[in-house]
C-alpha cells in the first residue's frame, strides 16, 4: 500500500484507507482511483499528486 500527496495542499491519499467520502473503498490502489477524482481539500486533479515515502 502506498501514499500519494497532493502537491498543492499537502492532502494525503492513503491507499490503505481509501476515501470513503467519495466512494473509494479502503485498499483502492492509486491507479484504480477514478481519473476524475479531485483532491478533497483543494480540488486539483490526480495528476497533481505525487507518490511519497511510506511514513
Amino acid at each position: 500500500m502506498k501514499k500519494w500527496q497532493c502537491v498543492v495542499c499537502g492532502f494525503i491519499y492513503d491507499e490503505a484507507e481509501g476515501w470513503p467520502d467519495d466512494g473509494i473503498a479502503p485498499g483502492t490502489a492509486w491507479e484504480d482511483v477514478p481519473e476524475d477524482w479531485e483532491c478533497p481539500d483543494c480540488g486539483v486533479g490526480k495528476e497533481d499528486f505525487e507518490m511519497i515515502e511510506i511514513g
Binding site: 498543492v8 467519495d22 483543494c42
Partner: protein, 384 residues
C-alpha cells in the same frame, strides 16, 4: 534578441514553479531563469491557512528549499531580486542597473494585499499574510500570544479564523459586510459558515470597521466605528488582494483589473505572457489554485512551440473552514436566475438556477459539501 536567451519567469509562487515543472516535463534543455523578490522556497499558498490545523510551523509548510528546486528543475534562480522594469522592444527585463535578455518572458508575480490606512500608533502589530515570508513573521510574532483580531471576513479572514481557533487562539473578526464572504457565498451558506465558526468560539463584529489601532504596551487596543473597543495581541489585515499591474502598465502592456491576456496567456506585447494572480485571462480574474494550474499546463505547451489556449472548466473553490466544510462555484456575474436553497442548520445546499432551470452555480456546506464534485459536473464550464 538572441535565440539562446532563456525563458524568464518572474515569481516563485505556485504559478511560477508549476509552470517551470510543466515546461520541464517536455523540455529538459531550454534555459530557464526564475527571478523572485522572495527567498525561493517552494510552497503552496493555500497551505498557509492550515498551519495550526495541521500542526505545522511556517517552514514545515514549505515543500522544498530554493536549492532543491534549482536541482529538480534545472533552472537558474535569482532570489531577493526586484524587477524594476520591462523593455518589450529590446526583450529585456530590467533589474535595477542590470538588464536580463529573454526569449520569452512570463509574469507570474502575483497580487498585492490591499492595505488600509488606519489611524493609531499600533501599526507594527498589524500583519498582512500574502506569502511564506509574511507567514513566518506572523508566526514568530504570535509566539507566547493569545488573542488575534482579524480585519476582513473574506475567504482568507474566515480560513485564518478557523485555523487560529484550532490553534487555541482567541479570535475576533471585524468586517464592514453583514455576512461572511459576500460576493463569493450566497447568504444562507455564509450563515452556515458563520454559525460553524461561532460554535468554534470566533467572535464576529460585522457592519463595522476598525477606526483606530493604539499600542497598548503589550498589544493593541482597537476602536471600532460602532464605538466598541477590543484588546488584541496582534491584528491580521485580510481585506483583499489586487493583481500587480503597475510594472506591466509602465511597459505599455494592456492592463485592466489584472494584466490583460488572451486564452493563450499572451499579453499585448510579443513574447510576454502572464498567469496566476496577476493575470486577467480572457476577462477572468480568478485568484485560486485550479485556474493557475490549468494555465500553467497550457502555457508550457505554448512555450514549447505548440500555441495552446487555456480551457477553463468549472472552477469550484474549496473554503478551508473545517468547522463547516464549504465549496462554492459562483454563477457567472450578472447571469439571470435565482438561488434555490435547501438548508438545515449548518448543512446548506444552494443551487443557482438560470432561467431555463439549468444549474449555473452552487454553494454547499456541512454534510452537503461532499456533493461538490457531482454538482461541478452539472455546471457548464467557463470555456466550452
Amino acid at each position: 534578441m538572441s535565440t539562446d536567451a532563456p525563458i524568464v519567469i518572474v515569481g516563485s509562487g505556485l504559478s511560477g514553479y508549476t509552470l517551470a515543472k510543466e515546461i520541464r516535463k517536455q523540455d529538459t534543455n531550454t534555459p530557464i531563469v526564475m527571478v523572485t523578490a522572495d527567498d525561493g522556497f517552494s510552497y503552496s499558498k493555500p497551505m498557509l491557512s492550515t498551519g495550526f490545523t495541521k500542526g505545522k510551523e511556517a517552514d514545515e509548510l514549505a515543500q522544498a528549499s530554493a536549492d532543491a528546486m534549482v536541482e529538480q528543475l534545472n533552472l537558474e534562480l535569482r532570489t531577493y531580486t526586484t524587477v524594476t522594469g520591462i523593455d518589450p522592444d529590446a526583450h529585456e527585463l530590467v533589474l535595477g542597473d542590470e538588464r536580463l535578455v529573454y526569449s520569452k518572458l512570463v509574469l507570474a508575480w502575483g497580487a498585492d494585499v490591499i492595505r488600509l490606512s488606519i489611524a493609531g500608533d499600533g501599526q507594527e502589530h498589524v500583519f498582512s499574510i500574502n506569502d511564506l515570508v509574511d507567514y513566518r513573521a506572523f508566526r514568530n510574532a504570535l509566539k507566547g500570544k493569545k488573542r488575534v483580531a482579524i480585519m476582513g471576513a473574506g475567504l482568507i479572514g474566515c480560513e485564518f479564523a478557523n485555523d487560529l481557533r484550532n490553534g487555541d487562539y482567541e479570535v475576533d473578526v471585524i468586517a464592514p459586510s453583514d455576512t461572511l464572504m459576500p460576493g463569493l457565498l450566497p447568504s444562507p451558506a455564509a450563515e452556515a459558515v458563520r454559525s460553524g465558526l461561532e460554535d468554534l468560539g470566533v467572535r464576529f463584529h460585522l457592519e463595522t470597521v476598525v477606526e483606530h489601532i493604539a499600542d497598548s504596551g503589550k498589544g493593541v487596543e482597537l476602536t471600532l466605528a460602532n464605538g466598541e473597543k477590543l484588546d488584541a495581541d496582534l491584528v491580521i489585515s485580510a481585506v483583499g488582494l489586487r493583481p500587480r499591474t503597475e510594472l506591466a502598465a509602465a511597459a505599455g502592456l494592456e492592463t485592466s483589473r489584472g494584466i490583460v491576456v488572451n486564452r493563450a496567456l499572451e499579453t499585448s506585447a510579443p513574447d510576454i505572457y502572464a498567469l496566476g494572480d496577476c493575470a486577467e485571462v480572457d476577462g477572468h480574474v480568478l485568484l485560486y489554485v485550479m485556474p493557475l494550474m490549468t494555465c500553467a499546463r497550457a502555457l508550457a505547451k505554448t512555450l514549447a512551440g505548440e500555441r495552446t489556449e487555456v480551457k477553463y472548466g468549472t472552477m469550484p473553490v474549496m473554503i478551508k473552514t473545517p468547522c463547516c466544510p464549504t465549496a462554492v462555484c459562483p454563477p457567472p456575474p450578472e447571469a439571470p436566475g435565482s438561488w434555490e436553497v435547501d438548508a438545515e442548520g449548518q448543512d446548506v445546499r444552494a443551487l443557482f438556477r438560470g432561467d431555463s432551470g439549468d444549474v449555473l452555480g452552487f454553494a454547499v456546506t456541512g454534510r452537503y459539501a461532499v456533493e461538490k464534485q457531482a454538482l461541478s459536473k452539472e455546471v457548464p464550464p467557463i470555456h466550452d
